[in-house]
Symmetry: C2
Subunit: 199 residues, 2 copies
């Protein structure tokens, strides 16, 4: 990159997305605002609107990046879990807990209702790819039907999201648990559910 041109950034658009993740990780969706993201980057509150027409478009870009990155981490966790299909799907729960703790971008961001009817083909494709990856991991456990694979994915994400959400809420605070403890508990719970499902 070339030298400084006053206060200007090299790629404010990318930095806005990055700073959005940092803000979400610290304050959750509740604390997210375009103004706060701008403040964090030391740019004016108007600057983001040169790159995103409104708040929803910025959130959509964050959602797309999160779907892409979470899918990559889920696949890596499944690889690291070995060849047992149940262990591979259960590893998704641990990956979810760690990813959301680090980035603040879980289901409520990636599949935010306010983005459901949002015409963004790139994002749609990335969220679809994430779901496809999850469904393939579920199908590999021996689910006889598509509907059953969906149910297994929902159970896995529900457990992971439950632990993540309570952790972020401070519900486990007394013993000052670390993320990795929570991720392991989510993984173990998920494995138990999947094992008893008969696969």
């Amino acid at each position: 990159m070339s030298a400084d041109r006053g206060y200007h950034h090299g790629d404010l658009r990318a930095e806005l997305i990055e700073a959005s993740f940092a803000l979400l990780a610290e304050s959750g969706l509740r604390g997210f605002s375009v103004a706060a993201v701008a403040r964090r980057l030391r740019v004016s509150s108007a600057a983001p609107y040169r790159h995103f027409p409104d708040r929803a478009h910025l959130l959509a870009a964050v959602s797309a990046a999160a779907a892409r990155d979470l899918r990559a981490e889920v696949e890596a966790a499944a690889e690291a879990a070995g060849s047992d299909p149940v262990a591979r799907l259960a590893a998704v729960a641990g990956a979810y807990v760690r990813y959301v703790h680090r980035t603040g971008a879980g289901v409520p961001v990636i599949f935010a209702p306010e983005l459901h009817h949002f015409p963004d083909d790139a994002r749609r494709e990335l969220t679809r790819a994430l779901m496809t990856t999850l469904l393939e991991l579920a199908a590999a456990t021996g689910s006889p039907s598509y509907q059953e694979a969906v149910t297994l994915v929902e159970a896995t994400i529900a457990v992971a999201h439950g632990y993540t959400s309570l952790f972020a809420e401070g519900f486990f605070a007394h013993k000052s648990h670390a993320v990795d403890d929570i991720a392991d508990r989510a993984t173990a719970a998920s494995r138990t559910l999947l094992t008893s499902a008969g696969h």
Copy 2:
């Protein structure tokens, strides 16, 4: 009660708490505001401040009422589940899903971090009673230690909260599931986890 005195209410304080639940059920903590509660009751935005000094005190009153009511519903669900200790604790998950769907007041409200250092003895006592009830149901499954009972309660609430939260988020929208379906799935998942815990 006597006849109308202009626009006045018989018991605005109680109605504010009731309306807060309705608002939380519809819009979540995200959409909760003192102004919105006042609007819902057709009173001025200043009226609530005659009964609660600030927003936190209103939320604390909601938290206390929710802890009291959820505890009652949890106990009723455990009774209805019969005498098997695992079934009784698993029934907590279903009761949680139904209660939070109806009232919007789950862990994020009852144990809201912003109320953690709040000097309200009545509320403290009610949240403590709720936790005691849950721990007793967990201990009855044969947990040898207090710490293990805590872990079982956390697992049960995590599963219930995960399903509830994803349901509220619209994650299950495709098949337009009913609350009772989700409550049953949370109960079944909880029972599986508790069964495999060896009790």
